[in-house]
């Protein structure tokens, strides 16, 4: 596979959220409006790039017995640096994101890419893979955040697109969009939609479905 496919593969075909169903926790929590979603996406991309690159560079000298500890150390350091940067340059967003930046350490996408990709591939391929997965995560997060912010407040960033009733317009903001549950529905519909279009993404049944017993007796 070329470096370019390492980048494009995770965008849709192997998307970390809709196909691998990873990183959902933060996708539900920080997708209420666009600004935090953008900053969260950038943070995840930065951490992914750093961790994939350093783990790929160290892949020949990391003893297998302490491999996971080293990986988590590297990821945690990157997350702390990113967290401090956000606290300095976007303090308001930092208050809103609160624990979720720190929780990037446990975001399965990052350790997942380190373990399944960076440890077996060279630095360039690993960077391409990190960028692809990061952008794949960002695309979904930003799509959900756009939808939630627009339907939840009628505005995107500071631009009032749908004039709300409170301000004399016609749009009544949909309250459920400000709760994390709405992100759950949106991502659910998104996965359904993508899998109806790309049938190859459908997973096989893990267990055969047996007909309900009461039907047999009837």
């Amino acid at each position: 596979m070329s470096i370019f496919t390492h980048f494009t593969q995770p965008l849709l075909r192997e998307n970390p959220i809709t196909v691998q169903i990873l990183g959902l926790c933060s996708a539900l929590a920080v997708s209420r409006s666009l600004e935090p979603a953008l900053i969260m996406s950038l943070s995840v991309i930065a951490v992914l790039l750093f961790s994939n690159l350093s783990i790929s560079l160290l892949r020949h000298i990391m003893p297998r017995s302490i491999r996971l500890i080293l990986e988590v150390t590297i990821i945690a350091s990157a997350v702390i640096v990113v967290d401090e940067l956000i606290k300095t340059f976007a303090p308001d967003v930092s208050d809103y994101l609160s624990v979720f930046v720190g929780l990037i350490i446990t975001n399965c996408i990052i350790l997942g890419r380190a373990e399944t990709f960076a440890i077996h591939h060279g630095p360039l391929e690993s960077l391409a893979d990190a960028l692809g997965n990061g952008v794949g995560y960002a695309v979904i997060l930003i799509f959900v955040a756009l939808l939630r912010e627009l339907l939840g407040t009628g505005a995107i960033l500071d631009l009032q697109l749908l004039p709300t009733i409170d301000e004399g317009g016609w749009y009544r903001p949909n309250q459920i969009m400000s709760y994390a549950s709405s992100a759950f529905f949106i991502i659910g519909f998104l996965i359904w939609g993508i899998r109806s279009w790309r049938i190859e993404q459908l997973e096989d049944e893990e267990y055969p479905t047996t007909p309900a017993p009461y039907r047999e007796s009837a």
Partner: protein, 246 residues
């Protein structure tokens, strides 16, 4: 893939090297960024004080906040004597950050004046919450007994639960509450007990009972003998004296 040396010395060397590089990275980032964060912290403190002192617009810019803060009259008082002190510049002195090397408990107090007449007093308060220390500002009316506004400026309570004490709707309930009754007894309380008269009672928050009650005991502590009692008595004397001389 070449076989990796799994010997104990090699493992130790790699572990130590990675740990050292990572810690250098983290500490240099923190070292470089802390001064910039401190500047933002000072701005946030000013915002809290100005908000307590009056009605600052929600979209006020940084410069407006600083200007409004500098427009407030401010003095440092010694809590133990209730007497004003000139040892510190009240506009820059932060008693939460500075460890006082002088005897006494020095606290900056901010005054909003309307043509030389006192309009509001802003008192810094802090106290123990459920997990963390709560920091806030309590603004009193010119009668030094009516709460005009309470601002919770900093806390480390549970996100989404304890931070309900920062909810503007709950904080708005404090407005107009009387701290002491007519006999001078400390009455203000955060409670669900309807036996406490409405003018002294603020309901605790369902779901954040411990933290909201902690806010109540914090306010009671600072309004009591171990808090601002002496300072408030002094301020009342000054106010009455000026009232007579006019």
């Amino acid at each position: 893939m070449t076989a990796i040396d799994e010997s104990v010395p090699k493992t130790l060397v790699v572990a130590v090297a990675v740990a050292l590089v990572c810690s250098a990275l983290v500490s240099s980032a923190v070292y470089l960024l802390r001064p910039m964060q401190a500047a933002y912290g000072a701005l946030e403190r000013n915002r809290a004080i100005v908000t307590a002192a009056g009605d600052l617009g929600a979209n006020a810019g940084d410069q407006e906040i600083v200007a409004a803060f500098l427009a407030l009259e401010s003095k440092v008082f010694d809590l133990r004597t209730g007497i004003q002190s000139d040892l510190y510049d009240a506009h820059t002195y932060d008693h939460w950050e500075t460890k006082a090397d002088l005897p006494g408990e020095y606290v900056p107090i901010y005054f909003k004046l309307d043509k030389a007449a006192l309009e509001r007093v802003v008192l810094p308060i802090h106290g123990k919450g459920m997990w963390s220390t709560l920091y806030g500002y309590l603004a009193l009316d010119a009668d030094l007994n009516t709460v005009m506004r309470l601002v919770i400026y900093q806390h480390g309570e549970t996100p989404g639960i304890g931070d309900l004490v920062q909810d503007p709707q709950w904080l708005a309930h404090w407005r107009g509450k009387k701290i002491h009754d007519d006999n001078g007894a400390l009455q203000i309380a955060v409670t669900t007990d309807t036996g406490v008269p409405n003018q002294h009672r603020v309901d605790s928050i369902t779901g954040a009972t411990v933290t909201s009650k902690a806010v109540g005991s914090m306010v009671r502590h600072w309004m009591g003998a171990n808090g601002y009692a002496l300072v408030i008595a002094q301020l009342k004397r000054e106010r009455d004296f000026e009232g007579e001389s006019q």
